[in-house]
């Protein structure tokens, strides 16, 4: 296609190398004005990199960028911003202890001379935009106090505030509930009506079908194809993305639950600000059963996990495993009582990034034989053990046992944790957001592992913000809202919308369960 002013963006032969690793390899893309254009690809396919190039964060090694037919040298984000490009990053770029307003105006402040910020005026401006596009955001709230969904709307506001005509959304829906996703799609349509253009990156085929007009697929840094979304099926998209056919539905046998091993009885937990985040929550999990907790981030999941793992004290209620109360003891005690946890924050809670894979594998067991004797570590045993794990869980690269875990890719870091926790042979396996940021392949693997453990007769507690995940993997789906389990269903007895509604605090109109 020749360069023309009908296009918001045209990229030609974009190539980007990190060292000798080619993240983008001669990519051509054309994005029509006023369309919603999806970018699809696996983890590490190069989507974010491509967008970072378009936004001027990275400089491409080869290739040109044309905006409305004009060649532009994107040497830094300022140029992009000046040309009306706005980007909402995959990992939010918000300063936690700033207010919404401060975050939005940052770098583009409204000043009343002498560089003094005119907060009043800025606030008015922002409120105008908020109303115009129907984004619900409290301009005075601190980022650390608001939900992920709202944080994302703040990111969008940031772009709009800078007068963006082309909006790049990098995996915007990863953390949203169905309702929030619908709202987002509404917002996107409002923006299109307003003559703006949108590029949306996502792994979720369903959303592409729902929202996008056209979709470009990238694989391993190479351009594969651009298709009219109306004309393709999800399966075709998936195949194009991965390069071979993938199984989108989790296949598992009917659960055969046995007696209760884990029991939470009207548990109350306070958050940092000493307000109850978990309120009289009760929950039972039986052997050979996966209980999935569906809910929007910030409804007490964090506190629930911290309470079970003894990272915080509980204000009331009991947590029993095999009949033993474990609340208000110590993380050590939790582990000793055969509760294993795959924490959502793998890098902060799950791993010591500077330790080798081998050492990370034994972080809960280094004091036990054979890994140590009389206070001295037995490196040989430790390495042997991790070699075995690496093989068993197909962690890549396969000779990484003596490498610092920092060097591993996100998905492989996740595998290290899963291997370690499962190897603890727990009675209860807690998995929090176990597939966050992983690609279809890796996700499939994680789900299989959880189910395998269930079939071994273990109790599994799955906590995820990805509704599909909960719906597909769990045998029992419990919806958490405002620190309470509002309702739970057997798998297959309920549809997404009902759950979504409950997650958003809506009343369940008795038609299901």
């Amino acid at each position: 296609m020749e360069i023309g002013s009908g296009y918001a963006v045209q990229m030609r032969g974009i190539t980007k190398k990190f060292g000798s690793f080619c993240a983008l390899d001669h990519i051509d893309v054309d994005i029509k004005k006023g369309t919603i254009h999806a970018m699809l690809g696996e983890n590490g396919a190069g989507k974010s990199t491509l967008m970072n190039v378009l936004y001027g964060l990275y400089q491409s090694d080869e290739g040109e960028i044309y905006l409305e037919g004009q060649k532009v040298n994107m040497k830094n984000p300022n140029v992009a911003i000046a040309h009306g490009i706005g980007m909402v990053h995959q990992h939010f770029m918000l300063v936690d202890n700033f207010t919404v307003t401060q975050n939005i105006i940052l770098g583009n402040e409204i000043t009343s001379g002498a560089g003094v910020i005119n907060m009043k005026k800025a606030r008015e401006e922002i409120i105008k935009t908020i109303e115009k596009y129907g984004l619900s955001v409290d301009p005075d709230a601190k980022i650390e106090d608001i939900s992920v969904g709202m944080q994302q709307r703040v990111e969008i506001l940031k772009a709009l505030y800078r007068g963006a005509n082309l909006l790049i959304l990098d995996e915007p829906t990863a953390v949203l509930t169905p309702q929030e996703i619908e709202d987002l799609i509404k917002i996107m349509n409002n923006l299109i009506k307003d003559g703006k253009t949108i590029i949306i990156i996502t792994h979720k085929l369903k959303e592409i079908k729902e929202s996008a007009d056209v979709c470009t697929i990238i694989r391993r840094g190479k351009y594969i194809d651009t298709v009219d979304v109306k004309k393709v099926k999800e399966e075709e998209l998936a195949t194009m993305m991965v390069g071979h056919a993938v199984n989108l539905v989790v296949d598992k046998t009917e659960a055969t639950p046995k007696d209760v091993v884990f029991e939470i009885d009207n548990l109350t937990v306070l958050d940092e600000r000493k307000i109850p985040a978990v309120k009289n929550l009760s929950l039972k999990i039986r052997k050979g059963e996966i209980v999935g907790i569906a809910g929007i981030d910030g409804n007490g999941q964090k506190e629930l996990v911290e309470a079970i793992t003894n990272l915080t004290k509980v204000a009331g209620g009991t947590i029993k495993i095999n009949g033993v109360e474990v609340q208000n003891t110590s993380p050590k005690n939790t582990i000793d009582n055969k509760i294993a946890t795959i924490h959502e924050d793998r890098q902060r809670r799950g791993l010591v990034l500077n330790y080798t894979v081998a050492h990370n594998m034994v972080i809960e067991k280094f004091k036990e034989e054979p890994f140590s004797k009389k206070g001295f570590l037995n490196e040989k045993e430790i390495v042997e053990h991790s070699k075995q794990m690496i093989k068993e869980y197909d962690i890549r690269p396969d000779n990484c046992e003596l490498q610092p875990v920092r060097g591993l890719s996100g998905g492989n870091q996740q595998k290290v944790i899963i291997a370690r926790e499962v190897a603890n042979d727990p009675d209860l396996l807690i998995a929090v957001q176990p597939t966050r940021g992983l690609d279809v392949g890796a996700i499939e693997y994680v789900h299989k592992t959880l189910i395998r453990e269930r079939d071994k007769g273990k109790a599994v507690l799955l906590i995820s913000f990805e509704l599909d995940e909960v719906m597909n993997v769990s045998d029992t789906i419990a919806v958490i809202y405002d620190g309470k389990i509002v309702k739970s269903f057997k798998q297959g007895t309920v549809d997404e919308n009902t759950i979504g509604l409950l997650m958003a605090g809506g009343k369940d109109d008795a038609k299901n369960s």
Binding site: F18, S20, F21, I335, R349, L351, V352, L353, E364, F376
Partner: protein, 375 residues
């Protein structure tokens, strides 16, 4: 490319680069101020190597800073910044002196008692910092800085006390000879000792003219002990885990607070060992009123940093540092260049150590690219 990368990756490489730069800058400064760098460095190296006893002196002077360096390095490895080594050193020398004066047992008992007193004092002083951090989350750097001064005044207070104060001086009495860890300290000044030594001038030079003492051996042992503790034991595993990522450590069932406390106790004890060994090992075997810090702790800081916090590294960094300090005096006394040049040189070296820390990182990236290329 991999080869180069691997060589560059070696910590030692960048440190050596740094030292070379340090000398170059010092040379420039000397030249710029009308002194011949050649003469200066000759003087310095002669001052360090030209006689056995000079070497012996360098070793003796390196002992305390190797240990304080080790203390700082250890704390760093466990995620703590032990600025308090200075104070721990002082406290230790104070209590070693007190016990050394008040107690007079046979050496086999006396020496351990005196040294333990010092080590204990240092450990306790470190523990205060550790406790305040673990219990109240108070930054160890503040408490360390404050406690260093408290130690200084406390030491001066002890000196001023009648029971310890040696009249017409600003010092305490010297500790009882039974506490000396100087090698053959009695024999070498006895007539027969002198007589024998006269026969063997070199040995005489070293033994008689310098306070040869067991310190360095203890220091080496400690270096080994600490590297084993850090790298081979479960305790070391815990301490480092807490240092690298206390959230993960906590989540894995490791008691973070306890480990912070333990880490500071150990660090304090090591610095304490340095203080005690100085009192027992070298003249004047006592403490005296301090108008300012003697910088054993702060030099330890530089030593640890030059050593990139490796215990073994501290051994060599300590020797280097002592060499510079001691040999530096020759620059001063021989060609008259102000001794500040040495401080500038040391500063420059440390500065370039900081700069060259980037080298391994770059090398790492280099290597990574290589790998990526591979598969």
């Amino acid at each position: 490319m991999q080869k180069i990368a691997n060589i560059l990756k070696k910590q030692i490489t960048s440190t050596i680069i740094a030292i070379i730069f340090g000398f170059i800058v010092a040379a420039i400064i000397l030249a710029a101020t009308g002194y011949s760098p050649a003469d200066a460095f000759t003087a310095m190296f002669e001052g360090i190597f030209s006689r056995p006893k000079y070497i012996s002196n360098v070793i003796i002077k390196s002992t305390p800073i190797i240990l304080t360096g080790l203390s700082v390095a250890f704390a760093f490895k466990t995620g703590l910044f032990n600025m308090g080594a200075e104070g721990q050193y002082i406290m230790s020398s104070v209590f070693a002196t007190i016990v050394g004066i008040k107690l007079d047992l046979p050496p086999v008992l006396q020496i351990p008692m005196v040294i333990l007193a010092g080590v204990f004092a240092g450990a306790v002083y470190g523990a205060v910092v550790g406790y305040l951090k673990a219990r109240f989350g108070i930054h160890e750097v503040i408490t360390s800085i404050m406690l260093n001064w408290v130690a200084l005044y406390f030491s001066n207070f002890i000196v001023s006390l009648k029971t310890f104060h040696q009249p017409n001086s600003t010092a305490t009495f010297t500790v009882n000879e039974s506490s000396f860890t100087t090698i053959l300290h009695k024999w070498k000044v006895s007539p027969e000792g002198i007589a024998w030594l006269k026969e063997h001038p070199t040995i005489m030079d070293v033994l008689l003219k310098t306070d040869v003492n067991i310190g360095i051996i203890v220091a080496i042992i400690m270096v080994i002990v600490i590297s084993i503790l850090l790298n081979r034991t479960t305790k070391g595993y815990e301490l480092k885990a807490v240092g690298f990522n206390k959230d993960a450590a906590e989540f894995a069932g490791i008691n973070v607070k306890k480990n912070i406390l333990h880490s500071m106790i150990i660090a304090g004890a090591i610095a304490g060992l340095a203080g005690a060994l100085s009192v027992t090992g070298v003249q004047p075997h006592r403490i005296s009123t301090m108008a300012a810090f003697e910088n054993y702790g702060f030099n330890g800081l530089s030593v640890a940093l030059i050593a990139a916090n490796s215990p073994i590294g501290c051994l060599f960094a300590g020797l280097l540092f002592a060499g510079l300090l001691y040999g530096g005096q020759s620059i001063q006394s021989t060609i008259g260049a102000p001794s500040e040049v040495i401080n500038i040189m040391i500063g420059t070296i440390v500065f370039f150590v900081a700069l060259t820390r980037i080298v391994p990182v770059l090398a790492d990236k280099l290597a990574k690219r290589g790998e990526k290329h591979a598969h």
